[in-house]
């Protein structure tokens, strides 16, 4: 592929990139499902009993055994499993008695809301902090930002969540406690997107919007802190690379002020790698949400997976794993693709 795409027209090259992207995506997804399939065979929980229950007759048991394809050789079982997954059949959750896919779609918006607000916070603070640290390299601001980042890399998220609850909810009373809404406000807003902030805004119910926000802000800030640490560190190192280039000296000699050079000459050049970094941190937050959701009783994907876990609900656990994995893989690869498409140096070579 490399030779044919390199010599072709830009459009052909673009098509080649997209095809190889889709191929990588497919291969990685097959790898992911192979691992979840492997895990599902590793567990000591009888998959047949999980379907028919322990009071089923032998005949019902045998029928379910055949229906699940358990009499087939392992590679065939995997193919059956993959075909079921592709048709959206993740099995039925033992805990909720609903199809796992239905459950996942119901809880995903909560995680999406949390991770998105957290990333926005991380970008809004992390990028300027990283730029400032690079521009003031070795001075006080740089050291302060470095210490803040180091703290973020070392502190356990679940513990920070508990301490946050203790201080801001328990002692100061600045924010609301666990959950997405006060019980008083629950199930009032019609579910449209599943994201309460947008749902309540659509209805113009600002009281609920405010309540949802006061629940969201603490877990989102704590999660956002971790993406802030990562984004600030990467921004700083990209910026330091740029600021040591000769074109910066040239821009300064032309009479541009220092900060003008930083923001209008150096910063535009780090935007492409920065997109990749933000994408990666977003993907990491989706799974970082697992622990945060447990601490804040946030009814999202993470809480769903951990709850299923303690009820031996393997269908739900693996369904959740596949969803997180698929989103994670897609974000990873898309940000990689964006990087390749938008960096002119990689485009021409």
């Amino acid at each position: 592929m490399p030779n044919s795409t390199r010599s072709g027209s830009p459009l052909l090259r673009f098509a080649g990139r997209v095809v190889s992207f889709l191929l990588t995506l497919a291969i990685t997804f097959v790898g992911l499902t192979a691992v979840t399939f492997f895990i599902s065979r590793l567990t000591k929980i009888d998959p047949v009993l999980a379907v028919v229950g322990d009071k089923a007759t032998q005949a019902a048991y045998d029928a379910a055994y055949l229906a699940l394809g358990l009499d087939q050789p392992l590679p065939m079982q995997y193919l059956i499993y993959l075909r079921r997954l592709l048709s959206g059949d993740f099995g039925v959750s033992v805990l909720t008695a609903r199809p796992v896919l239905t459950d996942l779609l119901r809880v995903f918006p909560a995680t999406f809301e949390l991770a998105t607000i957290a990333t926005l916070l991380g970008v809004a603070i992390g990028v300027p902090a990283g730029v400032l640290a690079a521009a003031r390299k070795g001075r006080l601001a740089d050291h302060v930002i470095r210490v803040i980042g180091l703290f973020g890399y070392s502190v356990p998220v679940f513990w920070l969540g508990l301490v946050g609850l203790f201080v801001f909810y328990g002692k100061l009373g600045w924010v609301s406690g666990p959950g997405r809404l006060d019980i008083f406000y629950q199930d009032i807003v019609t579910r449209r997107t599943g994201v309460i902030l947008t749902d309540s805004a659509i209805e113009g119910n600002w009281e609920i919007f405010a309540n949802a926000f006061s629940h969201l802000i603490l877990p989102a800030s704590i999660l956002g802190y971790f993406s802030l640490a990562y984004i600030a560190r990467m921004t700083r190192s990209f910026m330091i690379d740029q600021l040591s280039q000769e074109y910066i000296t040239a821009a300064r000699i032309k009479g541009n002020s220092y900060w003008r050079t930083v923001w209008f000459h150096a910063f535009p050049n780090i935007m492409v790698p920065l997109v990749t970094v933000i994408g990666l941190s977003y993907a990491t937050l989706l799974e970082g949400a697992v622990l945060t959701e447990t601490v804040f009783a946030w009814p999202g994907l993470g809480l769903y997976i951990t709850r299923a876990l303690f009820n031996s609900d393997m269908n739900a656990v693996l369904g959740g794993t596949i969803l997180v994995g698929a989103v994670f893989i897609t974000i990873n690869l898309v940000s990689d693709l964006l990087y390749r498409l938008f960096d002119p140096r990689l485009r021409t070579s």
Binding site: T24, I27, T28, G31, L32, V35, T36, I39, S40, L42, T43, K44, L150, F151, Y153, S154, V155, P156, V157, F158, W159, L160, L162, V163, L165, F166, G170, R236, S237, I240, D241, A283, L286, E287, G288, V290, L291, T294, V295, I305, T306, L309, F310, M314, V317, L318, G320, T321, V324, G325, F328, I329, N332, L333
Partner: protein, 302 residues
């Protein structure tokens, strides 16, 4: 005067023997670590962790980390119980000390599993190139694209909770980074003249890989491992917090934080103290890793 000449012998530009070269290299590395305040701070913290783990019974002064005393449950920190007691009246100071053993065990086991796998896959892929490289790296990329904590959760759920399974789960998602590093180092080393001369001397491929390539990959692998330690500790603590790590009554920091959840508003010390322990130890590894990177790879640090 003797120390002066020993220094000169160590720092000579033309070592007379392999032993002198190795000792000189070690000396240079050590002095630059000693001169790097970040690395030193990290080294001190990690050393304290190791000492805590080894001498836990001594420091705990006879207190049993799993002995319950319901009469003094949830007692505040005092002269008798320095860090207070938990919901079963166990001494949190003793439990924190013994928790260092669990953390150190997990970290050691993950390193022992992950480094050989990463080195084997990476050096083979880098040295042979071609389709071997393509296949191995594709597999590596697949594992690299996996969400670490969630996959570890699924594994721990399938295998049942426990330290060994937590180690397996973490290792499965941690090895690809080492394979990547070992591969890129190997590709650079394989080009160098001394490898060509070893090939001409008739050394077997395995001898080249084990005796010449692997030792040269080690320093970057060790730096990466140190930087990874904090992540491994945090993942292990997260699994423990969810109840999938070390099982009760073993003192494990993550599980200890979890046991203090319900009483966080009134008895803050139960959850706070083990959390601080996790934080300090991962901070130590982060500082040490940053410092080691400055020492071994001045280019990468900015």
């Amino acid at each position: 005067m003797a120390s002066q000449s020993l220094r000169q012998w160590l720092l000579t530009d033309a070592p007379a023997s392999r032993r002198q070269a190795v000792l000189g290299g070690t000396y240079r590395g050590l002095t630059s670590i000693l001169r790097n305040p970040t690395a030193m701070a990290g080294l001190v913290i990690v050393t304290i962790l190791v000492l805590m783990a080894i001498f836990a019974p001594l420091f705990a002064m006879g207190k049993d980390p799993i002995a319950q005393d319901l009469a003094v449950r949830l007692a505040a920190p005092s002269a008798e119980h320095w860090f207070g007691t938990d919901e079963l009246g166990r001494d949190i100071f003793a439990r924190t000390l013994y928790g260092a053993q669990v953390t150190l065990t997990i970290v050691a086991l993950v390193s022992v599993v992950v480094v050989p796998i990463g080195l084997a896959v990476g050096t083979v892929a880098g040295y042979f190139g071609g389709w071997v490289d393509a296949v191995l790296m594709r597999i590596t990329d697949i594992f690299l694209a996996f969400p670490r904590l969630v996959l570890a959760l699924a594994f721990a759920a399938a295998l049942g909770p426990g330290i060994e399974n937590a180690v397996i789960a973490i290792s499965l998602t941690a090895w690809p980074a080492y394979a990547r590093i070992a591969r890129s180092e190997t590709m650079a080393i394989a080009q160098s003249d001394f490898i060509q001369s070893v090939v001409l001397q008739g050394a077997s491929t395995w001898r080249i890989l084990f005796r010449h390539v692997v030792p040269l990959c080690l320093s970057s692998v060790i730096v990466r491992l140190t930087l990874d330690m904090a992540g491994i500790i945090l993942t292990a603590a997260g699994l423990g917090f969810l109840g999938l790590g070390a099982q009760p009554p073993t003192a494990e920091w993550g599980a200890m934080v979890s046991s203090g959840r319900d009483v966080i508003l009134d008895q803050w010390w139960v959850a706070t103290i083990p959390g601080v322990a996790i934080f300090i130890v991962s901070l130590g590894f982060n500082l040490l890793g940053d410092g080691l990177r400055d020492v071994f790879d001045p280019k990468a640090s900015s």
